[in-house]
């Protein structure tokens, strides 16, 4: 009798929590879509500038989301561009060259770095910029500093995904090239690395997602409310997530609030696309595409 009661209790608790979570998620996303989707239009993005002029940078967009979207884009490209080479190389080192104590030492450091709150990384980037400013007058909190700080943020993820992707290659494949006289580097370059590309690529895409959504780091390292499209790496810039944060607390009128909903929907769509892409890569055997002669 008691068993039966426990059984029913646990079952209903599990269903309750599952449904609660799902419905909360649907309420959040639904609310955003209902409020945000009707605001989507070209003028939301480009304001009163014509899209062609804006995209070719012939005219600045002063009232639309375009500068924020371009800022986010540049930021993501830069930070992932900076983090990927280092992350992959360190991941390869961890998977193929390091052993024993050295390996656990390194992975401990990466785990700690992965756990450091993003605002602390932002604070680090900010103090780095200020310290450098005392020597090089041109350096302020800016696009480059934000990109660097974001690169620090995603570096441990890139290292770990690369490492796991390489380590999960079966040993038959691992031995093929050495048996044919490949050196360690040749084995990595021709067999192991290409084989782990799908895993690594999905890791890179998730890193892109993290860079695109992060707000805490960029808040301290150079994002501003209004800047236009950044003219150089050392300019301040706008970004979508910061725009959403900014609007949520200080919209001036109903129209600005609408643009906030619009920006949130756009960011949601971008992140969903990135996420689906990573998912697709992970599940597809992408090597077919990569290896065809």
């Amino acid at each position: 009798m008691k068993e039966r009661f426990i059984e029913i209790f646990i079952k209903s608790f599990a269903w309750l929590s599952g449904l609660l979570l799902l419905s909360a998620a649907f309420v959040i996303i639904g609310f955003l879509l209902v409020k945000g989707v009707p605001t989507l239009s070209l003028s939301l993005i480009f304001g009163d500038t014509s899209p062609a002029d804006a995209l070719l940078l012939r005219r600045q967009v002063l009232t639309g989301l375009f500068p924020a979207m371009a800022g986010t884009c540049l930021l993501v490209l830069l930070s992932v561009g900076l983090a990927t080479p280092v992350g992959l190389a360190a991941g390869i080192y961890l998977a193929e060259y390091s052993r024993g104590n050295l390996k656990s030492f390194f992975s401990l450091f990466y785990d700690i770095l992965a756990g450091v709150p993003s605002i602390v990384i932002g604070l680090f980037g900010f103090s780095l910029a200020i310290s450098l400013h005392h020597y090089v007058k041109e350096i302020y909190p800016c696009l480059l500093i934000s990109a660097l700080a974001l690169a620090f943020l995603v570096l441990p993820y890139l290292i770990r995904t690369t490492q796991f992707a390489m380590e999960s290659i079966p040993s038959e494949t691992r031995l093929t090239a050495p048996a044919l006289g490949a050196t360690k580097l040749q084995n990595i370059a021709y067999v192991l690395f290409p084989r782990s590309l799908p895993g690594i690529a999905s890791g890179v895409i998730l890193a892109i997602g993290r860079c695109a959504e992060d707000t805490a780091v960029i808040m301290l390292t150079g994002v501003v409310a209004a800047a236009g499209i950044p003219g150089s790496l050392l300019s301040a810039y706008e970004a979508l997530p910061f725009y959403i944060y900014y609007i949520s607390s200080q919209y001036r009128d109903a129209y600005e609030l609408q643009t906030g909903y619009g920006a949130a929907v756009i960011l949601l769509i971008i992140c969903a696309c990135l996420f689906l892409a990573a998912f697709y890569l992970k599940n597809q055997l992408m090597d077919r595409m990569l290896y065809r002669q």
Binding site: I10, A89, L123, E213, T215, S248
Partner: protein
Amino acid sequence: MKRECFAETGFLGAAVLSASLTALILIFMLFLGFPLFRGGCFFTLLTTPWNPDKGLFGIYPMLAGTLSIVFLSLCWAFPLSLGASALISVIAPTGFAKFCKKTVQMLTGIPTVIYGFVGVFLLVPFIREMFASGSGMSILSASLMLSMVISPTMILIFTDTFESIPASYSAAADALGASPVQKLLYVILPYSRQGIFAGLILSVGRAMGDTLIALMLAGNAVAVPGSILDSARTLTAHIALVIAADFDSIEFKTIFAAGLVLYVFTTSLILLVRIIGGMGMKNR
């Protein structure tokens, strides 16, 4: 052979560079917050209130704010995640379980700022009307939204643990005629104890490190909160609010104290997870 050597050095260089960042961040915090350590001032900071008008720069209220928001959000998120993972791994029919898991995976990809945004316009007014006390910007609102942010990851860790139980255990339970719930209670949960604990700790780290939810929803008052409907400020939000441009003012130095506290906390959590993981290896 030269190329081999060159490449290995390059890979090693990247590994060392990345690892040194971890140390570099700590060194920066220590160096810039260093003046605070002289005369035991650092520990005074951890126990005194914040009131720059009166020359008080303690971060005790933020420490209390962080701990209460993290604790409360785990109070919501932990049972919810445990229940949802049980549903996904054991109880729900396969099709629905798959759907749930896909949805949960999607949820991990939603930007935090979006949770915050929806919180400001949906949850805060709701809480304000519901409890008719305070502005709605409160520990309660922040912890509810934060639990939405940390639950998906926690569920994924739990379901992974549940599903990693050796097939022979599971088969043995089935052969003895155990119902799914009995299997969960007597086989899966005891076996997954360490995984659950590790997932819990990692979630504490995530909750503690989150800035935006608290910044947008908790109200940022600098008093030590007395109830869950009070406004509060976390260490992370404090850093975001006090950021300034000089190295001289005491305000500025105290945010390094806040950064240092966060760094030390999250690092100890990682170490704790490692120790648990190590114990798990030995036990199995």
